[in-house]
């Protein structure tokens, strides 16, 4: 990585009783990056964040912050601040007092003028300068969220941790706040580490995403890497939508593979997705993004045939549910209304339709890697 690492986790493990929340995690976050930990609940993403914040102590391994070992340091000795999931604003203090809190603690008491200036700046950064004298209970959810941001940022931390910062907001507000978060990150240049279960949010905001599963990091990379080259079917399914279809592996040459579909169709030149070595004749799983599948024949693409099972109307597009012959799992593709002459041209249930997909857009995985 070109960037100076600001946070590193080396073989960090954590268990709660018999439940292992984290299995020897290794993670390096560069200064100024926006990294997201993504995964379903119980995957260890929140535990990772809490370990970095200092609210939990690692059973083994090492955590460093700006080069210093902070593994055993309590939260109040770490130059990190957190935006908590339900904001955790002090209900007995005004907005200004909340934001000033981190500047009035004994370890970091700022002179009154500087304190006032930084509170003012932090509040104007989140656009809530006029709410300084309100109590947190008098604010809306979105406003409380911003105050929580302002309170953390007033300390000018090296790293800002965000624990599902937008999950409590409604959809419209969440999208608006995503944009604001991104701008804030660009403007401040400090490192953001966010935890979320919302893959859309992760794709939009992050420089890099770490997809987690069962206490491991399944894959880490840029949003486009994860989307275009998922390492496992799990990642393919978690980020974006993926059509996962069983197939048989026939062999590979120079990173490209040949497979046989259950209906007997042969596909060659497809991408080998996972690192695992597949043997000839072994059961495999192929993943195809819905938007990579096209209706109709194409000279460059691989030909496939499927039957339409259902047609779902989504407003701007139709979603077609298809089945390949001899395959149980449904396959979904989108048909945008702009791409067809009229709605009548969209294939109806029962129709058999020819499909085509570019060979590199088909990714092959070992079947047992599915979960």
């Amino acid at each position: 990585m070109a960037l100076q690492p600001i946070v590193t986790l080396e073989n960090v493990a954590k268990a709660y009783g018999t439940f292992t929340a984290l299995h020897n995690i290794n993670l390096e976050i560069g200064a100024g990056e926006f990294v997201t930990l993504l995964g379903p609940s119980g995957c260890g993403k929140t535990t990772t964040l809490r370990l970095i914040g200092g609210f939990e102590t690692a059973d083994s391994g090492r955590i460093t912050l700006a080069g210093a070992d902070v593994t055993q340091q309590p939260p109040y000795r770490r130059d990190i601040n957190t935006v908590f999931q339900d904001y955790a604003l002090f209900p007995h203090m005004t907005v200004a007092e909340n934001v000033a809190y981190g500047l009035t603690v004994r370890a970091n008491r700022k002179p009154p003028e500087e304190r006032a200036r930084r509170v003012r700046e932090a509040l104007s950064l989140v656009g809530l300068s006029d709410k300084a004298d309100r109590m947190p209970q008098q604010l809306s959810g979105g406003q409380r969220q911003r105050i929580a941001m302002a309170r953390a940022l007033a300390r000018e931390p090296k790293v800002l941790l965000l624990d599902e910062p937008l999950s409590a907001l409604d959809v419209k507000l969440r999208e608006a706040m995503q944009v604001e978060l991104k701008h804030l990150h660009q403007k401040l240049g400090i490192t953001f580490l966010m935890v979320t279960h919302d893959q859309q949010e992760a794709l939009v905001l992050s420089n890099r995403i770490a997809v987690m599963k069962g206490g491991h990091i399944a894959q880490i990379g840029s949003p486009s890497e994860l989307y275009d080259r998922p390492a496992t079917p799990y990642v393919a399914d978690f980020i974006g939508a993926a059509n996962l279809v069983p197939a048989t592996f026939l062999g590979s040459e120079g990173g490209f593979a040949r497979i046989r579909m259950p209906d007997g169709a042969m596909l060659s030149g497809v991408a080998v997705g996972s690192g695992e070595k597949l043997r000839e004749g072994e059961a495999a799983l192929i993943a195809i993004r819905p938007e990579r599948l096209r209706i109709g024949e194409s000279r460059h693409g691989l030909p496939l045939t499927a039957t339409v099972v259902d047609q779902l109307f989504h407003g701007g597009r139709f979603q077609l549910e298809l089945r390949f012959d001899k395959v149980e799992t449904p396959v979904f593709i989108d048909v945008h209304r702009a791409s067809v002459a009229d709605d009548g041209a969209v294939p109806q249930p029962g129709n058999r339709v020819p499909l085509s997909v570019a060979a590199p857009d088909v990714m092959v995985y070992a079947a047992e890697a599915a979960a």
Binding site: I80, F84, Y101, R106
Partner: protein
């Protein structure tokens, strides 16, 4: 029957019972107490009258004001000790005990004494502090003293100890509830913002549990203020409290009008305490939402 009439009828049916209850058991007794405090005693009778003699006697005779002040002092001390002992206990239960089961068990241990007769619990201290009590026996056995001491019992200290023991659950319960309601992420947020454990306690936990302290203090103060068992059992002559005097006016002294006047004064004092505590409570109350 018209709908309006029916509505009015059901309204009165609904409210007549609580209204009757309030009038019969609260308003009438207080009224009769208030009226009797202006009566005159013509031994062995009490004559209806309207004169301030009883109040003048209570305010001019230093004996009565001394008892009232002593009672306030003892109730104040009991409250202070209950906070000093009860708060750390509640804090320990909520924040130090990790196991939910153990916490419930220990909390029950705090509450269970309330099921035991109040008289019995007061009497226990007579046994502990008495001349041939547990404390003296222990000191004799340890060789610290040669003869049993009689300094432990029949004084104000004995009363404060006994009353603190009896009323401390009323302090622990509301503080426990208040502490339990503090979301743990507020404590984490405080530490995240650079405050150590002690600073977090002073600036977040203590302010957010004020309501519990006020509720507990009000209860312990009012309960010990009106107590008359502890003075009789462990108080001795120097430990007379206002309730003892009050009781004797209606009993041995047979001066109901004077007793009523004294009761009216106590009633006014308790009202003042409640008023003050609800003021503090309202100022300190915050919603955790």
């Amino acid at each position: 029957m018209k709908a309006r009439t029916r509505q009015r009828l059901s309204f009165w049916l609904l409210f007549s019972l609580p209204l009757a209850w309030t009038v019969l058991f609260l308003i009438l007794p207080y009224l009769s107490m208030g009226m009797m405090s202006f009566w005159t005693r013509k031994f062995p009778l009490f004559v209806p009258d309207f004169q301030f003699g009883n109040y003048i006697q209570l305010f001019s005779d230093p004996q009565y004001s001394a008892v009232i002040f002593r009672t306030m002092k003892i109730a104040g001390l009991v409250t202070a000790y209950s906070v000093a002992l009860g708060y750390p206990l509640a804090y320990f239960l909520v924040f130090t005990i990790r196991s939910e089961k153990l916490r419930t068990l220990l909390y029950m241990c705090v509450v269970v004494p309330l099921w035991v007769s109040y008289l019995l619990r007061a009497y226990t201290w007579k046994i502990i502090l008495g001349t041939d009590g547990a404390l003296n026996s222990a000191l004799l056995w340890l060789g610290i003293i040669d003869q049993p001491l009689d300094i432990f019992l029949y004084n104000q200290a004995a009363m404060v100890i006994t009353l603190t023991y009896i009323f401390i659950p009323f302090m622990v319960m509301p503080i426990f509830t208040a502490l339990e309601r503090i979301p743990s992420n507020l404590i984490e947020a405080s530490q995240d913002l650079g405050a150590g454990p002690f600073e977090t306690f002073l600036r977040v936990i203590l302010p957010l549990s004020t309501a519990g302290i006020v509720a507990g203090a009000t209860m312990t103060f009012c309960l010990s203020f009106g107590d008359f068992v502890a003075p009789v059992l462990v108080g001795g002559p120097s430990g007379t409290m206002v309730a003892t005097v009050l009781q004797s006016q209606f009993g041995a002294a047979l001066n109901w009008p004077l007793g009523s006047a004294l009761a009216a004064i106590i009633f006014a004092l308790v009202l003042v305490v409640l008023q003050v505590s609800s003021k503090i409570d309202r100022a300190g109350r915050v919603s955790m939402g």
